[in-house]
Amino acid sequence: MTRLIAAPPAKENAVADAFPTTSGVLAMANLRAQIEGQEREAVAGRLTVIGQAGLIALIALRGHVLGCIADYDRAEALAEQLARNAPSDPDAFLARARTRAMFHRFSHALTDLDSAQRHGANPRTVNAERAAIFQAIGQYEQALTIYNEAVKRRPDFNSFGDLATLHAERGQIAAAENCFTESRKRYRGASPIPLAQLDFKRAQMWIAHHNLQRAHMWLDAALHRLPQYAPAQGHLAEVEAALGETDSAIARLRPLASSSDDPDYASQLARILGAVGRFDEASEWRDRAAARYDELLEKKLERFADHAAEFWLEAGADPHRALWLAEKNLEVRPTRRACELVARATHPVMVHARADLTTSML
């Protein structure tokens, strides 16, 4: 996550939105119940290929909401297995494409999408998946064409939500805000998860554009619906820290850093603790995050390069390693954010190099 600067307060009040959704606690218990029920069927061999693809999507969704990398890993393993078991089924390729994209294996994911289409997958479904990958690797125009077509054909929660995140990523704030609002208006469901995800993406946009109040508001909205939403908790802690609400940020992060297998939370906690002078505690969390990043990078460099670069750039205090990882990330996804990360990682390395040069000249 980039460093944050406070901005004037926003006038909107997202939390005042009264659209009712199922309580977050019930929704997460039900997600678990849904996964457990379908796993029984899968193990018994009674789940169709598309049913298995659905199960994989549910496991990945739980991984996202709870910040659980083990769930992502499991979804990936199941998708690989499904593609082996059903080598001519388009839904198996679609499922694997999604998990490969999740782990930033974008070229492999695109190959899977081609295979899915060759085996009869609906071209619109495949194109929607392609668009998400195009967006992730910075091919915005191609993504925009597909998203615009989707909105034109079916202007619903999903199509406007996709378009909103693309505009947000391109820095087109007004267009993004409009699409976020249109998407929200079109939500027809009882589950809090899709709305919380949408509000979270909106908050990410405002974080990227340094408007902390608006980011805070949308993160509050997301967490109001889904208190267990780990990435939203993590980002809110970051916003709170930037606003000077350090105690709240630390209290929010500590349970996440302790329980999650995603080192991002330990990394954030280390940085915030370090910033307020609690160096011993910071060091403990930094070591924990470093060890976990090492573990993850060994297995999935592409997936974790960007977050690990952020870690070594800040709490990890190893700018050379940060730059190397930022460059690796840029190779995989040449987006504006990836370029900015390289630029940020380059600066301390140059400063060090200049300092070394000065020292040697003395």
Binding site: P20, T21, T22, S23, V25, L26, A27, A29, N30, R32, A33, Q34, I35, E36, G37, Q38, E39, R40, E41, A42, V43, A44, G45, R46, L47, T48, V49, I50, G51, Q52, G54, L55, R74, A77, L78, Q81, L82, N85, A86, S88, D89, D91, N122, P123, R124, R188, G189, A190, S191, P194
Partner: protein, 388 residues
């Protein structure tokens, strides 16, 4: 499967996903009718009802408006509604969480109950149970997909039930007909089960009238000459069963005409000749997607769709219609679709539910206890195909 996963929204949120609905005379009490709404297919141990969803039965008096090829019902504007709501807060943790609920009846009585209380609750004029039960549905869904893919009937003996020993969340309401409906209404009533967001504005999320109308009759897209790439079930779910909107009516007709004609062709003969406009004789009857019950007639083993079948034949019906828990409704439907009753009954290879229904309230058998914990992370190879 009956209505399990009937569209993207249902697949994404099982709390609104209606799996099934049953309407039958009480086996315990003469003059009483039982309504069952099952949601949350493949319910795991922690499954709960949503606290923002209205789980409801909408009931309207109907009459037979026409028989034979143009068989149809006349539907009254008068409506009776049973509505069930559930609380968000619950005591306990994990699978032992206790959830409270309340059911309001059209006669004004409201009863509160505790989810998973096996005995249910008895009010003055109604009994209510809500909680986990074993899914009573049985049908070889994968064989339907195979039939669509191969263009030939693919049922085997035995068939494969995709919900065998699976659990659902059930709502069971039993009431005395005379205490609930006005004198002069009936004896024919049309019942629709719905999930909708509670409060205002309310959005209909799912509806159910007859089994597998969405997953067998609406789901295949290949035969549709108009909208081959359109998933219609999502839109269909949001429609008012008693008053379909005009926007998608042509699309529904096109899809149903094409798919019903496909099923009819599978025995090598045409039992349902299309009209001059390509209309299938069953389309209008099935688009009136509600379950019709005659509270004045007795239950019989072949009650399911008997009222409609007799309407198509042009003779008076003899049974209560509706649908009982053990009824082989899909055998009946496949027979109607494929040979119009002009041949042997079509078997899908499964003769009954995993466990026979109980004769005592709440009639659905208890949930599968201690479901086996799956080994991780293996998935077994499965029958290929999409999700019916």
């Amino acid at each position: 499967m009956s209505d399990h996963g009937s569209g993207p929204r249902a697949l994404a949120d099982p709390t609104v996903d209606i799996a099934d609905m049953f309407v039958f005379p009480s086996p315990e009490r003469s003059g009483a009718l039982v309504l069952v709404l099952n949601v949350f297919p493949f319910a795991g141990p922690t499954a709960r009802f949503s606290d923002v969803v209205d789980y409801r039965f909408r009931i309207r008096p109907v009459s037979v408006a026409a028989r034979r090829a143009r068989a149809s019902f006349g539907v009254s504007d008068k409506e009776y509604t049973f509505s069930c709501r559930f609380a968000a807060t619950a005591a306990g943790n994990g699978s032992h969480v206790v959830q409270e609920g309340a059911c309001s009846a059209p006669n004004g009585e409201t009863v509160s109950f505790r989810v998973n209380d096996d005995a249910g609750i008895k009010g003055k004029t109604l009994r209510v149970f809500a909680g986990k039960r074993m899914d009573p549905f049985f049908f070889d869904g994968p064989a339907v997909l195979q039939s669509v893919a191969t263009r030939s009937l693919a049922f085997t003996k035995p068939g494969t039930s995709t919900v065998f020993h699976q659990n659902v969340l059930s709502i069971v309401i039993e009431f005395e007909v005379l205490t609930m409906f006005s004198i002069g209404d009936g004896p024919l009533f049309a019942v629709v089960g719905e999930t909708a967001t509670a409060g205002a504005p309310t959005n209909r999320l799912e509806r159910f009238g007859r089994p597998d109308v969405k997953n067998v009759v609406m789901f295949p897209q290949d035969f549709d000459p108009l909208n081959r790439d359109l998933e219609l079930r999502e839109q269909y779910n949001q429609e008012d069963a008693f008053a379909l909107g005009p926007a998608y009516l042509a699309a529904y007709h096109s899809r149903m005409n094409a798919n019903l004609a496909f099923w009819d062709r599978l025995d090598g003969k045409i039992d349902w000749p299309l009209d001059a406009d390509g209309g299938h004789p069953l389309t209008e009857l099935l688009l009136a997607d509600f379950m019709v019950v005659d509270v004045s007639k007795p239950f019989a083993d072949d009650s399911f769709f008997e009222i409609e079948r007799m309407m198509l034949k042009g003779t008076p019906h003899k049974t209560c219609g509706g649908r009982a828990l053990d009824a082989d409704c899909m055998g009946t439907f496949m027979t109607v679709f494929v040979n119009g009753g002009n041949g042997a009954r079509i078997s899908h290879g499964i003769d009954g539910p995993a466990v026979t229904a109980s004769r005592t309230f709440p009639y659905l058998v208890p949930p599968e206890p201690n479901p086996p914990k799956p080994k991780r992370p293996a998935l077994a190879p499965s029958k290929e195909g999409a999700h019916p």
